[in-house]
């Protein structure tokens, strides 16, 4: 069984952290992954930086620009990940836009992911229908889960279609926004989390976008399996560096522990 499925079976309140590979420094990828695992994070999304990240807000975009300046490329990332499985046992997902993957070659990209021990991919601009028609067989051949997004505007029929095609979890975008918004969750988001929960989907859902602290993490995990933090983590990485990771993760979990 894929490490993602296993983790989702074993545990609730999954905390998944996104970071941009190559940021703040080109060679920080492995140290960050190790620090995240040590601090008790359940799952990691490694961002493959792209020049034009349409679905991302300023924080992730700026970290991507810096990572590219630092020299991050697809080949460099795979080189860095070569030995990652010697120390790392939690699920690893690569999140990247489709063009760099297309240029690398989709099959070769999947093969390299499998070799490095990557469990899944999130490719926000590869629509589910194109994936199913053209690439699903390749992903399955290499044992990679592909993870799709849904939003509050996704019609129920499409949510069910995505649920059919998915085999790990559904990435539930918390509200109509790019990454990095920070306003907390109101009645509207809560209503949406509940509405999707009531659909009794095959796949668990993990909430992402707009989760920045213990409070929003708690709200998100009430009606979903877990939550993903990206921009807030990168902001803290910019401020405090790798040594601040443990404290950040504790802060997210804290509220949950007390309650």
């Amino acid at each position: 069984m894929n490490r993602i499925n296993k983790k989702l079976q074993e545990k609730d309140d999954i905390l998944s952290i996104y970071f941009t590979a190559g940021y703040p420094g080109l060679h920080d990828t492995l140290p960050i992954i190790k620090a995240l695992q040590e601090s008790g994070v359940d799952m990691i999304e490694i961002g493959l930086p792209f020049s034009d990240p349409l679905a991302d807000g300023p924080t992730i975009q700026e970290s991507s620009v810096q990572a590219l300046k630092n020299g991050m490329t697809t080949a460099v990332l795979f080189e860095q990940l070569k030995a990652v499985r010697e120390d790392i046992s939690i699920p690893l997902i690569i999140m990247g836009y489709f063009n760099p993957i297309l240029q690398y070659g989709v099959e070769e990209f999947c093969a390299q992911c499998a070799k490095a021990g990557i469990d899944g991919l999130i490719i926000p601009d590869l629509p589910v229908d194109v994936y199913q028609k053209e690439y699903m067989a390749t992903f399955e051949k290499y044992g990679l889960a592909n993870i799709f997004l849904i939003t509050p505007q996704t019609p129920e029929s499409r949510v069910r279609y995505i649920d059919e095609v998915s085999n790990a979890f559904i990435y539930m975008v918390s509200s109509a926004s790019v990454t990095g918004s920070n306003s907390g969750f109101g009645a509207q988001e809560q209503g949406y989390f509940k509405r999707i929960d009531a659909l009794n989907l095959r796949n668990p859902r993990i909430v992402g976008f707009g989760i920045s602290n213990g409070e929003t993490f708690k709200q998100a995990t009430e009606f979903a399996k877990g939550a993903i933090i990206g921009s807030a983590f990168i902001r803290q990485l910019t401020k405090k560096g790798i040594k601040g990771i443990g404290e950040f993760v504790d802060g997210i979990r804290q509220v949950k522990k007390i309650l």
Partner: protein, 393 residues
């Protein structure tokens, strides 16, 4: 059908809709409705009457006598520069605002490079009383100041795009992000024949009035409804798509697409996508685009803000790959010279984008009896500062 969009939104292998799920409902709504809405009698009536009474169509097809004498062929200029707001862009914004109204949208966003599309969008928003936000690269804001002022005067908010190369591609990114953040009440008026399906086809259809009129006008003037050559400049490719549209299936007509070579194709400062690009994905469609080995989109360069885009629309990528069209690129210097020449030969100051197409007679020989139509996509008022700097006027 060979050169038109297919049912899945592709031109050959180019096109499609590679969009984040957040945009799916918006794009799907458009895809489901654009053909139905635009073929309604009431839509057509409103569109045509605005093009006639507000925009000033049909635009003349002008026989450029002195240009023809100098270059030894029969050159006609399709005068899109005489449209209200000074370029072809308004054909598309009129169409899209009528569509947006019928979709019940209250807020309009747009990206702009030269500012022509921004002005054309701000104009139709004023006309319809709709809120308007235009994204524009910081660099373009500086080099197209008159158009920024026009947009503001028309009541639009101009938001600077500060990321990346701070030009058209980045303004487009920002507009797409805005649409993700405002999925229900907002329509995104894309200004060129780019973006996810159905945008390239929708924009092309609104611009196709250009070649429709050329057919009629040539019939009157020359007793034939098609030229030997049709010439247009390509940024994203909307004026070209409109000028080519009704000639695509007539293989007797040679299509000439003109790209911006910038300081030269090999110089590292260019926007000649067909020469420098590879197949990939930009702003939601599969097309030819300038990118690194690693799939990062590169920053193009052209003296003209409207051609400063690292991709071309998928229809043009297909015209290139299938060799239906001839692609020629023109440097900054040659375009500027052609702009000055047209001013002095014909008394018409063209936009610098258009000046690239006007450099073709100098660049490529034609036979004396051949009829060549050049799409004069816009006028040069917005570019006076660039002309002044270049020629020390």
């Amino acid at each position: 059908m060979k050169y038109h969009v297919d049912q899945n939104g592709y031109y050959g292998e180019f096109g499609g809709a590679y969009i984040p799920e957040m945009l799916y409902p918006n794009v799907e709504e458009l895809r489901n409705q654009y053909l139905d809405i635009t073929s309604e009698a009431s839509f057509k009536e409103e569109f045509e009457s605005l093009l006639r009474d507000y925009v000033g169509r049909p635009t003349p097809l002008y026989f450029a006598k002195r240009l023809s004498e100098r270059y030894g062929a029969k050159f006609y200029l399709k005068r899109e520069d005489l449209n209200h707001t000074g370029a072809h862009k308004v054909n598309n914004t009129i169409g899209q605002i009528l569509l947006a109204k019928r979709l019940g949208k209250q807020r309009i966003i747009a990206e702009t490079g030269a500012g022509q599309h921004g002005v054309a969008t701000a104009t139709v928003c004023a006309l319809m009383g709709m809120q308007c936000v235009v994204y524009m690269g910081e660099i373009d804001i500086a080099r197209q100041a008159p158009n920024v002022a026009r947009m503001k005067m028309l009541g639009a908010e101009v938001r600077p795009a500060r990321s990346g190369s701070r030009t058209l591609k980045d303004a487009t990114n920002e507009a797409i992000r805005d649409w993700i953040n405002n999925p229900v009440n907002t329509h995104y008026i894309i200004g060129s024949a780019i973006g996810p399906h159905p945008y390239p086809d929708m924009v092309t259809r609104f611009q196709s009035v250009i070649s429709e009129e050329i057919q009629k006008q040539l019939q009157e003037k020359e007793g034939r409804n098609a030229p030997d050559h049709i010439v247009a400049c390509i940024g994203g490719g909307s004026n070209a798509a409109g000028a080519f549209y009704h000639f695509l299936d007539n293989e007797q007509v040679n299509i000439i697409a003109v790209e911006a070579a910038g300081k030269g194709i090999e110089s590292g400062h260019s926007a000649a996508t067909s020469a420098l690009g590879k197949k990939g994905i930009i702003h939601g469609c599969k097309t030819l685009l300038m990118q690194t080995e690693d799939g990062q989109i590169t920053e193009p360069y052209s003296i003209s803000a409207g051609l400063d885009y690292p991709g071309v629309g998928p229809m043009h990528a297909h015209l290139y790959a299938s060799r239906r069209a001839e692609f020629i690129s023109i440097t900054d210097d040659d375009a500027m010279k052609a702009g000055l020449e047209l001013a002095q030969l014909e008394g018409i100051i063209p936009a610098i984008e258009t000046a690239h197409a006007l450099a073709i007679p100098e660049k490529r020989p034609f036979r004396k009896d051949e009829i060549v139509v050049i799409n004069l996509s816009g006028r040069g008022d917005k570019d006076l500062n660039t002309y002044i700097d270049h020629f020390k006027l």
